[in-house]
Symmetry: C2
Subunit: 103 residues, 2 copies
DNA sequence: GCAATAAGTCAGTTTTTTATGACTACCAAA
DNA sequence: TTTGGTAGTCATAAAAAACTGACTTATTGC
């Protein structure tokens, strides 16, 4: 346990944090869509072919925990929730675009 | 199977490929070291605290398969193997540095 | 031939990640 | 008070990834 803890904290590579935050099965796609407009859960679910509630919920939560997305409750008729890029998230747009152009 | 296949090939996000190639527990660190100088297996194993043969072998193979590293056999006294960045790999250095500075 | 160095592979187990379907909570309209 | 929309959670199962230690291959030096 101690050994493991030390290893995990022993990140000598600063790029790793960011790579981890952005990578995964659905996160790149979610981030890409978030750049264009606020996200809504069921809309995402319909847009991202092959995904599922659970997968999206986890990905959204992780992006939120990483400080790249923020959840906003919209008190409308059937109560919406929006996910927007934070300032921190917006700062990644250039490098993300570069990744897109190289990938 | 068909559904899954389609889903996997249905990458609508171009950044995903690159993110996948670079991310993982050891790949960022390996890439970072590869930028500075050619890599040698046992040397890496000693340098990267907490890793192990198996983990490194898998990571190196994946980086090689992704076309970012190339294996070179050096016919010296005890027969070395070096891993160098390919041209393709070198082209990622700028974006990797950017990830490092943001991370 | 025998040991040492370098670079791995392999089998078995454990841990982590993904997928699936059923279920929950909130609110509003009929 | 039942139905419908939105946004999820939870339990369980299945699949993928990681860890471990023993084993393999190739070559050189003694």
């Amino acid at each position: 346990m101690t050994t493991k803890k030390i290893t995990e904290e022993n990140k000598t590579c600063p790029a790793q944090t960011l790579l981890k935050q952005l990578s995964g099965k659905w996160k790149p796609e979610i981030f890409r869509l978030a750049v264009n407009s606020p996200l809504r859960f069921n809309s995402l679910l319909r847009q991202i072919d092959g995904s599922n509630k659970q997968a999206l919920a986890v990905a959204l939560r992780e992006l939120e925990e990483a400080g790249l997305l923020q959840k906003v409750v919209i008190k409308q008729k059937p109560l919406h929730i929006e996910y927007n890029l934070t300032e921190n998230g917006k700062s990644l747009i250039p490098v993300f675009k570069q990744l897109e152009s190289l990938g």
